[in-house]
């Protein structure tokens, strides 16, 4: 996961917001890397810091409000501390983003085609209007929109939800970026359309050979498309590693909780879904020690440490699999075998 030829490398990223209510540590020391052609799934509940991380990579945080430290290296360029104008030149060209709700993310007053052509012309100022139009029509065709030349002139409200997200993908890929960040790209869509969009992303990745970060709260989606997984909680990484390792032998109680709250077709149909008790923590008032301890069923087994000490990310089993938990590897294995795997959630 930390290979030296990764296109995107994030090391010890911290994003802090100073608000009138106090300091919000939205992302607190997260590291990961993504190679071209590979997909990293970032999983977590709302407020876990997954979207803040992606916006930090694109440099979309307001510099007046957010303090960003650590390293973000895209294609060998260090972005943290770079003047906004230089980051802007990379945005949309080397790294692009797909947002959750294409209806609100597309401008309601401009035609779909015009918005795609605009994205092309920012980074190809030498291109004529006709060339940009042709490029946009080609992209619409490529993402599977029928009659692309006619639909070029239609507005977002004249597209269906799935078609809008396809158009959004066309727009993000119009400059052939090496890094694509998809922030919950299927959450706002019908279930039947979700699978189509995920397939499309996989096809396009094979064609354009881009590095993809897929942000989601849906472990099912991660299992379908990701190569690596990063599980975030309260702004920190609690578990990360290859998708096989994390989904087949999850190590963190939070990951167990996420898996137990996903219905499984292969498991016992009568098995109860086990929700994670409590609510995601407030980032402004994060629990001390392990941020997950108030919701952790096994927190009594480690005594006061869960309240006083932040667990470090440590190697867990196979190479590159990391977990931040005070429980020992043996304890975790015992609990998993006894309580979690039996619920029938392990994939």
């Amino acid at each position: 996961m930390d290979s030296s030829d990764a296109y995107l490398r994030v090391r010890d990223l911290r994003v802090r917001f100073d608000t009138s209510d106090g300091v919000v540590r939205a992302v607190d020391g997260v590291s990961f890397a993504v190679e071209r052609g590979r997909t990293l799934g970032i999983v977590g509940e709302s407020g876990s810091g997954k979207s803040v991380t992606s916006l930090a990579i694109l440099g979309l945080h307001d510099a007046k409000r957010a303090t960003i430290t650590g390293e973000i290296s895209v294609g060998g360029r260090q972005l943290v501390g770079l003047p906004d104008e230089e980051v802007r030149r990379l945005r949309g060209r080397d790294m692009a983003m797909i947002f959750q709700d294409p209806l609100s993310a597309l401008h309601p007053y401009y035609s779909i085609g015009r918005q795609i052509a605009e994205a092309y012309r920012v980074h190809h100022p030498e291109a004529s209007r006709r060339e940009a139009r042709q490029r946009a029509v080609d992209m619409l065709d490529r993402v599977g929109i029928p009659q692309p030349a006619r639909r070029f002139d239609q507005y977002p409200h004249e597209f269906s939800g799935g078609m809008r997200q396809r158009a959004m993908i066309a727009m993000s890929l119009v400059n052939d970026p090496a890094l694509l960040i998809a922030d919950e790209p299927t959450t706002a869509l019908d279930v039947t359309v979700q699978a189509q969009i995920l397939d499309l992303l996989a096809d396009l990745q094979a064609e354009f050979h881009s590095a993809i970060i897929l942000i989601t709260h849906d472990l099912g989606v991660v299992g379908q498309v990701a190569d690596e997984v990063l599980v975030m909680y309260g702004g920190r990484a609690v578990e990360q590693g290859g998708v096989e390792q994390v989904l087949r032998s999850p190590q963190h109680p939070y990951t167990w909780g996420l898996l137990s709250s996903v219905p499984s077709l292969h498991g016992d149909a009568d098995a109860d879904l086990v929700p994670i008790p409590g609510n995601p923590p407030s980032l402004i008032n994060l629990p001390t020690g392990c941020a997950f301890h108030p919701r952790c069923r096994y927190d009594d087994r480690v005594g006061d440490r869960s309240r006083t000490e932040v667990p470090e990310l440590r190697a867990a089993g196979a190479d590159g699999h990391l977990v931040a938990c005070h429980l020992s590897a043996e304890e975790r294995a015992a609990i998993y075998a006894e309580n979690v795997a039996s619920v029938g959630v392990a994939r």
Binding site: R89, R91, G92, F99
Partner: protein, 328 residues
């Protein structure tokens, strides 16, 4: 589109009809005799009666109204005392100023247009500009300055601002002539120098509302997802703010502007009075004071026409700005 225009034309006709009936009824409901203002103190009852007969004031209300409307549509003969034949659209004869009302309107309408249109351009540019700047520089001294400026504008009255402007620029510094109206086509420089204070005073007061409205709209729009998308595409700030944010933020401003300009074109009484310029507004007030029915009818109808036109224009602009709006 054509269906929209036909519908609009129909509802405009209906509106104007209702306005004319109401104005007519209200005039006759007033506890005063319009004739007394024509031949003042030394009028004996017989003369009054004769004048009343001449003006048709003894006819039933319905036939008076029908006569007036017929004049607008086909023209009519008003008799030698009132200038004889009056061609369509005949607005009648003023028994106070002793001239055809259409002549009065032709004289004062350009005055009001000359005051309102440049002032509106000025207040829109100033208001939206200030609102944009303070939204983009939120929390800085520039923002506070703009808010302060608009608060001041919103809390002052035109006759005060006008008087201060006159005192400073005309009577103390002697930079400008005493305000007066000259036709734009006769002498553009004189036209502008005679009206510039009225423009500035109106723009100052009106831009306040626009600055606050566009600031609020802009702040709301800046937090929209599509603005974030525009930035994620790598667009530079001018394109993000101008092409993407402003276009979405401007829609409510267009509505208010349409209503304000439409209303102002019907007459800017206070402005005209403050600067001593005779426009539509002052003419209307004078006519009411004198009981001059034809002039009242004409000024009220023209004001109504402007409001109706402004509303239709706002709808057209809306459709031009927002493709989701369909004109029906």
């Amino acid at each position: 589109m054509s269906r929209f225009l036909i519908k609009r034309l129909f509802s405009a006709t209906l509106t104007l009809f209702a306005v004319s009936v109401l104005t007519f009824l209200m005039f006759f409901a007033l506890p005063r005799d319009p004739v007394t203002s024509i031949c003042s103190k030394n009028c004996n009852p017989e003369r009054l009666e004769r004048v009343r007969d001449d003006l048709g004031l003894n006819d039933p209300l319905i036939s008076q109204y029908a006569g007036y409307m017929k004049g607008i549509v086909t023209g009519r003969d008003l008799g030698s005392a009132q200038g004889g034949r009056c061609d369509a659209p005949c607005l009648g004869w003023s028994y106070v100023t002793n001239e055809a009302v259409s002549d009065t309107i032709a004289r004062v309408l350009p005055v009001t247009l000359s005051i309102v249109i440049p002032a509106a351009i000025l207040w829109l540019l100033l208001g939206v500009g200030l609102g944009m700047v303070s939204a983009l520089r939120r929390g800085t001294w520039l923002d506070r300055l703009a808010i302060g400026f608009s608060l001041t504008g919103a809390s002052l009255q035109l006759y005060f601002v006008g008087a201060v402007l006159l005192l400073v620029f005309v009577y103390n510094l002697r930079l400008l002539p005493v305000p007066s109206y000259t036709s734009l086509f006769d002498n553009p420089a004189k036209w502008a120098s005679g009206l510039v204070l009225a423009w500035v005073a109106l723009a100052f007061l009106f831009s306040a509302i626009y600055a606050r409205l566009s600031r609020a709209q802009m702040l709301e729009t800046l937090s929209e997802d599509f603005v974030r998308t525009a930035r994620a595409k790598g667009l530079a700030k001018p394109a993000v703010y101008g092409r993407h944010a402003l276009r979405a933020a401007i829609t409510p401003v267009v509505t208010i502007a349409g209503l304000d300009v439409g209303g102002a074109l019907g007459g800017t009484v206070i402005t005209e009075t403050t600067f001593g310029i005779q426009g539509l507004g002052r003419t209307a007030v004078d006519a009411v004071k004198a009981g001059d029915l034809p002039t009242i009818m004409a000024t009220v109808l023209i004001a109504a026409v402007f409001v109706v036109l402004a509303n239709a224009l706002v709808d057209l602009l809306y459709a031009a700005i927002d493709p989701r709006v369909r004109l029906r």
